[in-house]
């Protein structure tokens, strides 16, 4: 095991898959000469050249549309969206084209496409560049939505995504590239569509993913000091959603808190809570709470922005609340 950053994990997944399969190429804004706006593809342009590291115009429809077309004829493009907020410019391709083509033409077309997108707030980028709109994308059958919270998962899931024959939106968090974690030395894959228990506990189940995992792990340490042991289930994939580990944990703890960075209304938490009520109603001992972003467009001011984002104390408070 080696301790590496999230950035290194994602970068390793990309190079390993590019070295393994010549059909894999990267397409996006500033992925090449610039080295990636989050430096994930730093050095790639020199190593692989302009044919495999394709710098594009700032034109999201062209980026995702062209990636879809290339995927349809057998290549395996990885399209990078500088931020997930720019997916809205290419919304037609992300939700209305890529996820439909296989089904709508009776299985004739395959779209082996990975769209890497950077989401999340906390970098004072203002309301249009800071969103966590994951739930919107997870709404659409035909698209797979993956969002890892550890370097190990990021690497293993991204490698699986690149090998998959389906369109996959792979969401990374803008403030998590520097987090460190153990990653196996040997090659490994992590299957898409499997939730994972990241920390075991008996008192309360926390269901979360991506940035929520980082915050929840910190909250868990604090709660542990107070004698409360939480179990953390990391969804890792939002669609297809694997509820088994969530339900299994909930049937043990009978109490849950869902932590996500997106807004509460119509969010990931809404889905998780509904499913628990539908499938494990008899096990519910307390109302299930959600810790989310405040329902505002994210402001620029650092203090205000942090006040709008979910924080560790919010999680601690919610866990204590469901234990009352």
């Amino acid at each position: 095991m080696a301790k590496i950053t999230m950035r290194e994990a994602i970068s390793q997944a990309l190079t390993e898959e590019m070295d393994r399969d010549p059909a894999v190429f990267i397409i996006g804004e500033e992925v090449g000469v610039w080295g990636g706006t989050y430096a994930v593809t730093k050095g790639f342009y020199d190593k692989y050249g302009p044919e495999r590291i394709k710098d594009t115009p700032i034109a999201e429809n062209a980026i995702i549309g062209a990636a879809i077309g290339a995927a349809m004829v057998g290549q395996r493009p990885i399209a990078e969206l500088m931020t997930i907020n720019f997916a809205f410019s290419a919304m037609d391709y992300v939700v209305n084209q890529a996820p439909k083509l296989h089904y709508m033409f009776g299985g004739q077309f395959m779209v082996p496409l990975v769209i890497r997108a950077v989401g999340g707030g906390g970098r004072q980028l203002g309301a249009t560049h800071s969103q966590t709109p994951d739930a919107i994308f997870a709404h659409f059958p035909g698209l797979k939505v993956v969002s890892p919270g550890t370097p190990e998962d990021a690497k293993g899931l991204l490698k699986s995504a690149i090998r998959s024959n389906d369109p996959i939106l792979f969401i990374e968090h803008a403030t998590m590239y520097q987090i460190r974690g153990d990653v196996p030395d040997e090659e490994y894959l992590i299957p898409i569509g499997k939730s994972k228990v990241q920390r075991e506990g008996k008192d309360v189940t926390i269901v979360t993913y991506c940035k929520g995992l980082e915050l929840s792990m910190k909250a868990a340490d604090e709660l542990s000091n107070a004698g409360i042991e939480v179990e953390i289930v990391d969804l890792r994939t939002l669609r297809p959603l694997d509820m088994e580990p969530v339900l299994e944990s909930f049937k043990k703890t009978n109490r849950a808190v869902v932590v996500e960075e997106g807004w509460k209304s119509y969010g990931v938490g809404s889905e998780i809570v509904s499913r628990i009520y539908e499938e494990a109603f008899d096990y519910v001992d307390a109302p299930i709470l959600r810790v989310t972003q405040k329902e505002v467009p994210l402001p620029y001011n650092r203090t205000l922005e942090q006040a709008a984002l979910p924080q560790v104390p919010d999680i601690v408070a919610a866990v204590k609340e469901v234990l009352k």
């Binding site: 190429f25 397409i27 044919e51 594009t56 115009p57 034109a59 429809n61 062209a62 995702i64 549309g65 062209a66 990636a67 879809i68 077309g69 290339a70 995927a71 349809m72 004829v73 057998g74 290549q75 037609d92 391709y93 209305n96 084209q97 083509l101 296989h102 089904y103 709508m104 033409f105 009776g106 299985g107 004739q108 077309f109 395959m110 779209v111 082996p112 059958p141 035909g142 797979k144 998959s164 024959n165 389906d166």
Partner: protein, 318 residues
Amino acid sequence: MKKEQQLDLYYQMVLIRRVEERGAELYQAGKIGGFMHLYIGQEAVSTGLIAAREPRDRVITAYRDHGVALNCGLSANEVMAELLGKATGMSKGKGGSMHMASVEKNFWGGHAIVGGHLPIAAGLATGDQYAKNDNVTICMFGDGATNIGYFHEALNLAKTWKLRVLWVCENNVYGMGTSVERASAVKEIRQKAEGYEMKNSRIGGMDVTKVYEAAKEAIDYVRKNSDPYFLEVDTYRFRGHSMGDPERYRKQEEVKKWEESDPIGIFRKHLLEKKAATAKALDEIEARVEEEVNKAVEFAEASPEPAMEDLFNEIYAE
């Protein structure tokens, strides 16, 4: 063009016409649902274009796609079955009128979002460029698609990356019910290609031999130079935009005037004048089409509905 090929083009144009005329009847009878856009009047464009391609050249178009599907080599049976939503349609009844395709025939759809398939066309060509082959992608779209952002992003990318795409704008005067002059800043759509320093030309689209010749030349140019080409083709749809079109935006005299340039009539006259075919031979082709279309309707009506479990099949490839 050899005589046999000319007769084949005549056959294809008549086949499109009769498949769609019967389709319209079936639609009126309630056997076809959703939107259905007829190609009647524009048959020479797709027929001439696709006749000029090599089998390895890819074709992609918008939702007015029945004719393109037939020209690419899909059978009347498959087209009719898809219109009726049957399991034997090429998209297994899940696509309908606007979503016909065949990987085997190198026909990449049938796309229903106006302009949405243009960046995908650039992508097909990007895939071919990446594979280092010299396939050409022929991308067809209407005049209406040239006013939307996709068009400009796709043309810009194609020129910047030197992609092998033949862009074919079928200017049929109206985007739904809004005429080119009410919707487009430039009246000659090929001028938009000038903005991307893209080689271009404008031709009449009612004479299939002219379309064929222009397409041959353009495809050759694209293949040899690895450079996109923009072809504006003037044509006209004799029917409404879709089956539910009140046609308040044009006068019947205008339609009648265009109908005098019926592409099938023009080609028939051409074949007779050049003595490429006798009237009897052409009548025989029409009779053969009639029989083929009758059989296609029978086939489609007798075909099974998709199985209920197919509802959940093929959402994902894996």
